[in-house]
Symmetry: C2
Subunit: 325 residues, 2 copies
């Protein structure tokens, strides 16, 4: 595996990373950082790794960057149409593929080089529409031959070696299908919320040199372990915060209030079909999000007015890779 | 396993079975059969097993019996609605469930005691909509983690022990879900067309005491082995012939020309949905069949005029079980 120890070799306590002035930006009035100027010059190449994310992406520290990630690519025909509609309308900037789902091959067949990552999938949450692992993984099955419906059920009996093998197979299959995979995500938070599963998540991000979709930093106390610091220690990038609006109304409001830094806005566009209605009781929210997000005129205008720049996960992947070069 | 040798113990060459007059019916003017009257009385209990199927079902030898089997139950939401529509309109008389498919659990949730069997499923023929085995069966996977798309691909690398285990799991799961399973079928003819796979098919029919959906007898020469004779030797029943009309027009014509004996008419009703259109290029035939078959007024009237009686697979299962009692 490449690059697993980049940040570990840097003699800076990880907790102080954010307090050190970026070399390429304007020095901050931070006395501790100023006192270390000589040291800073010596490790200049590495210090870029602790600049704020927007700066590493080539923007000023107060920039408002936004990734609009369409979830559920591959999950159903309705979500495939939804995700590609929103990407091709120029509003969405990324999509997260669920490789083991019944319609993943349609997503592959329709792919035209869009910004896509893999949403590592270890659950099948719908009661009446199901799927299962693509590897031989007895510990990842529920009694019905598919993935368990909930993350709790998964955590109760998933073997982490089988999790690793299944997740790696999902990434490799997406690559084999022709996707230019540029991030990893985790369905239902399964790989983010438990330390032993997070180890697998981080290991795969390091191995494939990909950014991770992580929960916002302010949720770390509730999770009980410093997953963001651990990702940073391994040189793995992630947006600064994540928003998951459920309804179209909340989504519209979120778009109007994007803060400085890199925000990921997770959306679930889907066309309304009989299958979607039968599979998911919340189908109406997904269909409303779709309607809002395919409006290619108003959303880009709104974001321009509020000074928000849309980016994809490719930018994060490139910055992550560059820091290892 | 019960009753695997019923017919074998009877000293009648299987090929002559149909020429022997049924004990409970009117004797036919057949000199060979008349000459054996004394012998016939001695084995009367067993001879019932070689009466024609319609007679075993309690009808006269010239009766025209028709099973209208809806395929693809469980395959997709569109086919679930299609199959239950046609069953509940009173036109369809049976349905064949595909347990490993993504929508099988919806079919289970919607079940209200209809006449249902298990269409043993070892393939996933659609290019963009996929599913895989419910057991750990490496030899039943294609390179993409699901079932192979064609029967030829399956036959090339399927281990018969894994086939048996997967098929048994499908039957047991259907029973667990609450289905009163009353027949076995085989998707894409996979278990009918090759002797080594037919062994598994017949073994499961014997074990679970279920009738089999088999190809018509006139196709035996092309198949190269006497599958119907083998089923009969094991006391396993099957309709006398099977019709698979593709278009609604051919289906309508088939309904008007049902011959004496037990005919199985295999239909593929499905509602038209975006998913079905995306999954299956021939969706229009399925939707047209659905439109024709939900017309509960005209088809029963047509069948009544031509003297056709509709039955389900339960009648066959009951006759098969009774012969073992």
């Amino acid at each position: 595996m490449k690059g697993a120890g980049g940040a570990e070799a840097t003699p800076v306590p990880p907790s102080e990373g954010r307090r050190i002035a970026p070399v390429l930006g304007r020095p901050r009035p931070d006395s501790r950082a100023s006192a270390r100027t000589g040291w800073l010059r010596r490790v200049a190449g590495r210090v870029a790794a602790v600049a704020t994310l927007v700066e590493r992406l080539g923007y000023t520290a107060d920039a408002r960057l936004l990734i609009i990630t369409c979830e559920n690519l591959g999950c159903a025909h309705a979500t495939n149409v939804g995700a590609y509609d929103v990407l091709r309308a120029g509003v969405g900037t990324s999509a997260s593929l669920m490789v083991p789902c019944p319609w993943a091959r349609e997503a592959a067949a329709a792919y035209r080089g869009e910004d896509v990552g893999v949403n590592l999938t270890l659950n099948a949450p719908f009661e009446r529409y199901r799927w299962g692992p693509i590897t031989l993984a007895p510990s990842l099955l529920d009694g019905d031959g598919g993935f368990p419906r909930t993350a709790n059920d998964l955590w109760d009996h998933a073997d982490t070696d089988e999790v690793r093998r299944e997740c790696r197979a999902q990434i490799e299959r997406a690559i084999l299908w022709g996707f230019d995979v540029n991030h990893l995500g985790t369905q239902l938070d399964a790989l983010n919320a438990r330390p032993e599963f997070f180890d697998v998540y981080l290991e795969l991000a390091t191995e494939f040199e990909l950014p991770l979709r992580l929960q916002s930093g302010d949720s770390e106390p509730a999770y009980g372990f410093p997953f963001r610091r651990r990702a940073a220690e391994h040189g793995v990038l992630s947006p600064d915060r994540v928003l998951r609006p459920r309804t179209a109304e909340v989504l519209e409001q979120a778009l109007a209030e994007i803060e400085p830094g890199v925000t990921e806005l997770v959306v679930n566009p889907a066309i309304e079909t009989p299958e979607l209605r039968a599979a998911y009781p919340g189908w109406n929210d997904w269909a409303s999000q779709h309607e809002l997000l395919v409006d290619a005129a108003s959303i880009p205008k709104l974001l321009e007015r509020t000074g928000v720049t849309r980016i994809g996960y490719r930018a994060l992947r490139d910055a992550q890779t560059a820091s290892r070069a």
